[in-house]
């Protein structure tokens, strides 16, 4: 692989922490990634040297702050091959999807229209659409999964029709690791006259992203899953669509002219960023984007596929372990269950060994229903993980099996 992971590990201060006297093995990056020193330093540096509100004052600090914030918008646009004014900063994927569901959905979706999802969506890419469907008396439809957890294109062709206004799907499942055929679904949506919203929370951190090649109309993702700080996210939308959207957060910074009874809106994207944003967080996100660009997203992509495939193969060969989702061709995560041991107990036993994994329904309860389980354990990887971490994972599974079989 082209990544020198041992060097990268040293960039993440938290990875040298010990947990219950053992070296931390962090396998919960799908929940949130760890942060390199450069990102932590960028936020600190911003507060120590630059801090001021943006777009308001004329003093040096305010100008520097405004420029720093604007620079990250450009970095973000470059990262996903978009235009800077199409990039809206939010608090995270959840807020991004809520913004498009309200700002675009309430304008375009009418009674009797339908919104198309998949059963593997994170609640963040489900509840905003349930609510939109209720507000607009629209129908929710689901593209079904094949038994292996991949999307059924046959089903996609059936459910997307002339009354479909919006299709919202993840690019990579946070539970199964399924890689969804976004380009094909985009074409189906566009043929039907619908727009495609892509939840990129689990894909943008792990592979090179090109919104044009992907065929998306909107893309949502979170900084904190890609080496950046919490509290920052992105909604990207095609300018033609953003122009038809109404703002949903009203107040300072998002207006052009205000009198007692009326207001006009600022230009896009400021129109959608009411109030003082998370400036320091955005600056930290800029440092994360630079960090990832330096490693190279093509390198990251190849390495993450490699780790995902390897972890799948190793776990699939273990007896008494059920691995969920498609084969080795997947995002860098593996959900599993150990026979007779509840995932919470698995995670507890792992923690005693310094191994951090997630256990639960992963904010995807309809997918749990589809799988026929209440919960799973999940190990997820990022660029600072390596093959040794997969060995640690396998050892932890074996010792947990033994512990609860006594």
């Amino acid at each position: 692989m082209t990544i020198a992971v041992q060097d990268l590990k040293a960039d993440f201060p938290i990875l040298s922490r010990s947990i219950h006297g053992q070296r931390l093995t962090y396998l919960d990056s799908a929940a949130t990634s760890q942060k390199p020193a450069a990102v932590i330093a960028a936020e600190l540096d911003y507060y120590q040297k630059t801090n001021a509100n943006i777009l308001r004052s004329v003093h040096t600090l305010a100008e520097e702050s405004t420029l720093a914030y604007a620079k990250v918008r450009t970095l973000t646009a470059d990262f996903i091959h978009a235009q800077a004014d199409e990039v809206i900063f939010t608090r995270g994927t959840t807020e991004s999807i809520n913004l498009v569901a309200r700002g675009y959905g309430d304008v375009h979706v009418r009674p009797g229209d339908n919104i198309v999802l998949t059963p593997l969506e994170h609640h963040s890419n489900l509840i905003p659409w349930q609510q939109l469907a209720k507000r607009q008396q629209a129908d929710l439809r689901y593209i079904e999964l094949r038994p292996d957890g991949n999307l059924s294109l046959e089903s996609a062709r059936q459910v997307i029709d002339s009354r479909t206004k919006m299709v919202a799907i993840a690019q990579v499942s946070n539970v199964l690791g399924t890689i969804l055929p976004v380009r094909t679904v985009a074409d189906l949506a566009h043929q039907a006259g619908a727009v495609l919203v892509v939840d990129g929370a689990q894909s943008v951190p792990h592979q090179a992203t090109d919104v044009v090649a992907m065929g998306a109309d909107f893309l949502a993702f979170s900084a904190h899953k890609m080496c950046g700080p919490t509290g920052v996210g992105v909604l990207w939308g095609k300018m033609a669509h953003l122009k038809t959207m109404s703002p949903v957060l009203f107040g300072g910074e998002m207006i052009a002219y205000v009198d007692r009874d009326h207001a006009t809106w600022a230009d896009i994207p400021a129109r959608f960023e009411g109030g003082t944003p998370n400036i320091a967080g955005v600056v930290g996100f800029g440092a994360a984007l630079e960090y990832l660009a330096e490693v190279g997203m093509d390198n990251v992509g190849a390495y993450m596929s490699h780790l995902g495939a390897l972890a799948f193969q190793r776990l699939q060969n273990l007896s008494g372990v059920t691995v969920y989702g498609p084969g080795p061709d997947r995002g860098p995560l593996v959900s599993f269950n150990i026979d007779g041991v509840h995932p919470h107990d698995v995670a507890q036993a792992f923690d005693a060994k310094g191994v951090a994994i997630r256990a639960g329904h992963h904010c995807a309860q309809p997918l749990m229903h589809w799988l026929g389980v209440n919960a799973t354990a999940r190990a997820s990887f990022y660029l600072y993980n390596d093959i040794d971490d997969i060995d640690v994972l396998v050892d932890a599974i074996e010792s947990t099996k033994r512990y609860f079989a006594r």
């Binding site: 509840h342 919470h344 107990d345 256990a359 639960g360 209440n374 919960a375 512990y403 609860f404």
Partner: protein, 146 residues
């Protein structure tokens, strides 16, 4: 950290051989509760006669902590008064959140190890929350399943 501090013998025993597991044909109160972090559900059936818990059963699947806690709780309150059942639930919850308990918690004190893990405290207290709702209708609220 020693895992045995959390998974004491009694806990593994109650998890493997749960007491009072199942449902009752004619409960006077039945409560369903959901653990929002894992989606696990517990159902608790009780029969109260003359202010006494004459029969009690729990059903559902969950982690070792939640199952053992439910199993021990049913044993502890069966045959006792409603007031004693409520006092036990209250004391147990206080015990796990680091406050001194007024009651002798018996076997339930084996769950002490989870008190440093807030997410596991939710698992351990699920059955006790269900008991409170079953015994005290004023505690019943929207998160009850039926």
């Amino acid at each position: 950290m020693n895992l045995d501090d959390i998974y004491r013998e009694t806990i593994l025993d109650h998890n493997q051989i749960p007491r009072n597991k199942g449902t009752l044909p004619n409960p006077t109160a039945s409560v369903g509760l959901l653990n929002p972090t894992c989606g696990d559900q517990i159902r608790l059936d009780v029969v109260v006669a003359d202010g006494k818990i004459t029969d009690i059963r729990f059903d559902g699947q969950g982690c070792a902590i939640s199952m053992a806690s439910a199993s021990m709780m049913t044993e502890a309150v069966k045959g006792h008064s409603v007031a004693e059942g409520l006092a036990l639930a209250r004391s147990f919850k206080a015990f796990l959140t680091g406050r001194p308990s007024e009651e002798d918690l018996g076997e339930l004190s084996a769950l002490e190890g989870v008190s440093q893990f807030p997410s596991r405290v939710k698992c351990a207290t699920l059955a006790h929350n269900a008991l409170e709702k079953a015994l005290d209708p004023s505690k019943a609220d929207l998160d009850a399943l039926d």
